[in-house]
């Protein structure tokens, strides 16, 4: 299954999930957009919190994208994903951002859950940031719908994670093939 197929399937799932609640969710959407910076910061901090303390301190401080590629990839990535999930842009536009983060996590964390947990932290960030409003009970249903959207993105993350892992194994296999390629080429030539 190619990248485009993955995106198309996920888009379909998202559209189905949205149903007729789109208009009713506007209230929540406005709230979230108003608190975009705070939610993104909270989400970013939570992701950095998954790294050891000494590391996350560095990741927070250094702003240069080349001196701190992990933070750069994560911060740019979550911004793109946020726009897709909250602002309702096409899921295809979030694909490269998801891909960038998952590529990184797929070779950093040894467990699949650890690698894709970052996307679920968005739920936590929104819940914490909108704690008071949620307790009022007025946005509860909209929140459930939104969280379902995040769940859909999570499924896409699994697909992407598997693609990354398969790529790593393909590269490992290629290493062996490359070592013998010239030899086989020569052997074939001599036949």
């Amino acid at each position: 299954m190619g990248a485009k197929d993955l995106v198309r399937d996920a888009s379909l799932r998202l559209i189905k999930g949205r149903g007729n609640s789109r208009e009713r969710r506007m209230g929540l959407k406005d709230l979230i957009i108003a608190k975009k910076t705070a939610i993104l910061k909270r989400w970013f901090d939570m992701i950095l919190g998954t790294y050891p303390e000494e590391t996350s301190n560095h990741l927070r401080k250094q702003a240069d994208p080349f001196a701190n590629p992990i933070s750069h990839t994560i911060s740019k990535g979550i911004e793109g994903i946020f726009s897709t999930v909250i602002e309702g842009t096409d899921i295809e536009s979030a694909f490269p951002f998801l891909d960038n983060i998952i590529k990184l996590r797929a070779v950093q964390d040894s467990t699949p859950s650890g690698a894709i947990a970052f996307i679920l932290l968005l739920k936590k960030a929104i819940r914490e940031e909108l704690k008071d409003k949620i307790h009022e009970g007025v946005i509860y249903h909209e929140l459930l719908a939104l969280e379902s959207n995040i769940d859909e993105i999570t499924l896409l993350c699994f697909d992407l994670y598997m693609k990354c892992r398969e790529k790593v194994y393909e590269l490992k296999a290629n290493e062996v093939k490359n070592m013998t390629f010239r030899l086989l080429q020569r052997a074939n030539h001599n036949l």
Partner: protein, 538 residues
Amino acid sequence: MAKLPTPDELSKINYKPPEKRWVNTPAEFKDGFWCFGTRPKYLQAVDMPNPREWKPIEDDWKLPENWKEIFLEGFAERLKKYRSFRLFMDICVRCGACADKCHFFLGTGDPKNMPVLRAELLRSVYRNYFTTSGKLLGKLAGAREITFDVLRELWYYAFQCTECRRCSVFCPYGIDTAEITIICRELLNLLGLNTDWTMGPVANCYRTGNHLGLEPHTIKSIIESMVEDIETITGIKIEPTFNRKGAEILFITPSGDLFGDPGTYTCMGYMMLFHELGLNYTWSTLAAEGGNFGLFTSNEMAKKLAYKIYAEAKRLKVKWILGGECGHMWRVWNQYLETWHGPTDFLETPVSPITGTKFDYTSSLKAVHIAEFTADLIKHGKLNLNPSRNDYLKVTFHDSCNTARGMGIFEEPRHIIRNVCNHFYEMPENTIREQTFCCGSGSGLNAGENMELRMRGGFPRANAVKHVHKHYGINMLANICAIDRAALKPLMDYWVPGVEVCGVHELVGNALVMKGEKERTTTLRSEPLPEKEAKENV
């Protein structure tokens, strides 16, 4: 049946690592982050200690009973022998300038990959046994005993450092953390704790003179196969010579250029250039290796493997040595060879037979890097080049750690690329030249089983390539190192698909207009040249 976690248990993911000090956090061996332990036959081949079957992941490393004694005696011996090592153990003030400069730290986020902490793994042992404060105050002075857990940790992280020396560029004291890793690996070698990927080439090199274990007839046959490819592409038959006594120049390149793509295309570029110049040079099938994995084993082993090149130069009575595109081969030659063997008095200071340039700076080594040789040719207008043949490429240049930080070769390869390509773009300033990011696979880490580690370590480099790929459409990453050519290929495949890897002399070979050549319709990779360029070259 294995116990599966319940959904409740699964949802309780602990995002926070254990809040313990690093000394109390033993190394956790993760799959894909470590290389296989060396096989006994490789150790036996070069008479190194403790040959046996062992697996780093297992609890029993089959160490000699007195392993602690051996380790500490080795430590003491090296402190006495190398003043720099003693200094590096003592003078670090833990300012942290190096902490975020290591590509492994930047890619992994593992604090023990901060150069300061990686060195601290060994320094803490040093304090415990070799300093008064450590002996008296123990943990309070940052000292710790050498235990099996500590040894495992040293091994795990000594092979998560590519000895690239980027951290040392930023150290206010000039501590060369690479040398700390080098000594640490030496100590581990006293116990037979090397990796298979490093020791295999060492043993091969000791027996055949090259890392791949190629016999002379195989080397000849491989080069002849390239000669056939060159003839197909250019219509010109090149006739290289082997082990020819009395040749003016001995040409040495890493054996990776003979065997693995895209190194082989670089090698074809060398040969086309030499033919066009009418250079009086010879290959050696006995010293057919510029690389030296002995450097990743021990000082003695590096010394043992290095001298074959000069012995061969002496035997063939050549005047000087021309070296191919390699990284650590040049580090060994420039930094260590003179200490090991003294000035080379049986060769002559290299003079380019084409331009007359005398390479005075190498009056002791008598060896010239091919990037310098070719840049000199271009500067003197000695080559007929058609850069438009490379117009389908948008090229960026990756400075190899060893030639950049070890030799200061920055401008020569760039001068060549600008003359053989029309589209050249630099990566961001803090990722090139002396600040270049390592490929993540140097110093014997380019094995297959540690691919995750390599992908993580190469991430900062890939991140910079991604930037120029996005902004300028870069599709070719050029370099002057054989390990780079092998390692950057999978790195690009993973992080920046669409970017290929090549040696600078592959680009030279493509652009070089040779006397009497037929119309070129393909690149050195035997891929069709874009139609437009093919027509222009009629």
